[in-house]
Symmetry: C2
Subunit: 393 residues, 2 copies
Amino acid sequence: MFEKFYTERIKKTPSSFIREILKVTQNPEIISFAGGLPNPISFPQEELKVSMNRIADKFGAKIYQYSTTTGLDSLRQFIVDKYRRVHNMDITIDNVIITTGSQQALDLIGKVLVDEGDKVMLENPSYLGLIQAFCVYGADFIQTKLDDDGLNIEELKKTIKEHKPKIAYLIPNFQNPTGLTYTKENREKVFECIKDEDMILIQDDPYGELRFSDDERIPYIGVNQGKKNIYLGSFSKIVTPGMRLGYLIADKEIIRIIETAKQAADLHSNIFAQYLISDYLENNDLDLHIEKIKKLYKEQAGAMVDAMREFFPSDIKYTIPKGGMFTWVTLKENADVMQLFDRAIEKKVAFVPGHPFYVKPENINTLRLNYTNADCETIKEGIKRLSEAIKEL
Amino acid sequence: MFEKFYTERIKKTPSSFIREILKVTQNPEIISFAGGLPNPISFPQEELKVSMNRIADKFGAKIYQYSTTTGLDSLRQFIVDKYRRVHNMDITIDNVIITTGSQQALDLIGKVLVDEGDKVMLENPSYLGLIQAFCVYGADFIQTKLDDDGLNIEELKKTIKEHKPKIAYLIPNFQNPTGLTYTKENREKVFECIKDEDMILIQDDPYGELRFSDDERIPYIGVNQGKKNIYLGSFSKIVTPGMRLGYLIADKEIIRIIETAKQAADLHSNIFAQYLISDYLENNDLDLHIEKIKKLYKEQAGAMVDAMREFFPSDIKYTIPKGGMFTWVTLKENADVMQLFDRAIEKKVAFVPGHPFYVKPENINTLRLNYTNADCETIKEGIKRLSEAIKEL
């Protein structure tokens, strides 16, 4: 009865396909590779308990009161110090705003930068949460080809020339959903293509810390070169997602307009959570903690790749993850992944069909697998079941 | 340099005037009646500390993990039970969604219900956070007259007939900024005027619990009569604002579409905070705690009213608050409240000029005073200083 009241923008916004799927996978007999949940090992529970008691004693009423829209200064300063040190970024606290998870950063950017019909360039496929967030604001999406080493440069040039996008949204590290990472060379070429364009470049990086090898970190695209870069980060995959703390790094003029949008959206992010994470970071070695997470995820990713090698038919392609939380499977051409999903559920294994990661899903023969939430034996059993479903297609 | 990238919607959105003013009032010598902060007595610090340790022990990783968009069931159930008991509302858990503060509820309603140019009826004056939130979505605001006993019924009828608003946004209890409360009779008349209209009625009620007298609670407008009512509530003024937890009660069809908008906005609200507040509510007597807050605020409000009686020139009008956090002062016609603000700052007292509470501020001779954040002696001194500034106008 309320349909007539709804806005055009919300009618066009897809509800989360994955959240629908998760309802199917509530059955405890089903081995689920569908979610994107961090393993609970990534939550430093004991240390957070110490921190919450410490901030309660140390700061009293402040941890419960209204606070500033831009966020807690000590937390912003931690981010500044880290990005100066690790990413060699020339930034100060005025370049950082704390957001209610990275998802809010996407929503605020949409509010501030995406007018109805504005062209937004994404990887093909891309993160469904971004598609949702920008859809609300009427973005006209263009998805451009993603190869194993990063963006396909020829396609990128064509896309830019033809569409002149206002915004490019990229996930250069362990991309969601494909698990792919752009090489250093590819990033340099991408920057060459966009540096003279009138375009805002958003680099979303929730998984960058979760690199399995000891190889050198690959720099972001165009660091310190021009002011049109926006970087997104999050504490969700390395400390806790339940606290909903992410951040946005950008030119301070952009931070100021994002601040206005955030005032209207939620006044400020949970200040208790900001004191808590700030205290945790001050009193613990985050890098050491991340090592533990990486060790676990590397084993789990290895178990999944080994099982895919052992059980999958040889014409099935998949990403070999070097970090992050996902692998991406490509079935043979014309395979019907929704049909596979139904068969897989019968065999008690679940995954996310590729559809929600495409703006215009057609003939989708891809699927996303998450490996961070099952032990190695369960992963092997799940992949075995999935292989059987694939062979019956 | 980024102006050309900004959306039309954000260019039209006012940044918070109050937050600008708060910067001026940082000087500790200034007595500030400008903010809207709850007194720290309203934070049950010891009890919350007990609760955070209990939930850490009891729920482990769950308090740190991703969670559902609609919110924690036990917290939603608490809200259901309370609104059934206290407000006689015929609702279930499916009628409730937890939001990141009430401000997010306003943002989500805007996303879902306000298309560019949609008519939204507000009290005159009204809450500036609503004006900000809906401005983003292109609302066409109409402000209608507010009398001491509630909406002016003649004006309301005219406004409805002339503009056919899609949405009415009202704050019937201890309104922000005026401190006024609609009488029972007025509420019934308002409902008569709107019940057959094709209009969504939002009743925002952050202050309803803070009623100073023991008089009976006045029912909301149109409870259980039709499905087009949306109720907003918040834990900010009765437990803690820093946790950013509010809620929205509506028909379940509306809850479902708000859920989609919330997925795109921040996935879900801080789940630790939801477990914390839920545990606090389960193990403590909230009503007893609210009694303490009311006692304090009643004294403070009384001190302010007494001082205004003593010091203000007799042609100055003001609200005598029966609850909530604010009083509203009307200077003589044509008085320049911005000039008064500058003089008041010289005398080291601050307030919020009426401007941000009007959609089209013209010849504003009103101002808002908050009394919850100073002791009675300081309140008296502040009002004395303000009176001197008024007399010099």
